[in-house]
Symmetry: C2
Subunit: 123 residues, 2 copies
């Protein structure tokens, strides 16, 4: 599958899962996975899911604005993806802008998240 | 050198060079390098520098807000960096927010840019 198509399919699945049930994101991370969330670093599937589940909101909705992807090594075994979008938390009506970067590693027909960097964009 | 220190040093050098003389960025790219600039893809040092030099402004100043970095492979031979910041173009006084992701490859004591994804963030 083409890089951009993989990135878009992954991104849709990731945010659908995040917005429905964050614990289900565990299937996308492994022990070497790294997450830097608003500057705080976490490593490993358990720590990452614990961090994501602990975020202090009940409801969240991600709206994707852009998805850009490139192969991140010459063997087409990994893909770097940068997403920009908007985040609606709980009953707020003003979305917050965010940026998220993933580095995805191919394993058979699927991909897992090696790198994950999340930032809110403040004007 | 530590991942975060490399990322900050690279980022400072990149934007200082960009804002002073974009053609000097040629030293940071190679033929396999990829740039996706506002969704437009380019590959190779010559095409990338041509794209950057052709951007329609005379003066530009990047202000860095955040720099997040992680090793992007298990051998510490590459680093993924996501930068958020503000961009001041020509004589405008309202900065535009931007996001840029680099994947840097180690070569001896220095790093070159394998992946480069740039996006303006629109509210």
């Amino acid at each position: 599958m083409q890089t951009q198509a993989v990135a878009e399919q992954f991104t849709k699945f990731y945010y659908d899962t995040f917005d429905r049930n964050r614990t289900d994101l565990a299937s996308l991370y492994r022990d070497p996975s790294m997450l830097t969330f608003e500057g705080v670093q976490t490593q490993g599937v358990n720590s990452i899911v614990e961090k994501l589940v602990s975020l202090p909101f009940q409801k969240v909705a991600h709206r994707i604005s852009t998805v850009d992807a490139q192969p991140s090594n010459p063997n087409n075994q990994s893909i770097v993806v940068t997403v920009t979008g908007q985040l609606l938390i709980d009953d707020e009506t003003n979305p917050q802008m965010f940026t998220q970067t993933f580095n995805l590693i191919a394993d058979g027909g699927s991909f897992w998240v090696y790198n994950d960097i999340f930032r809110l964009n403040y004007a």
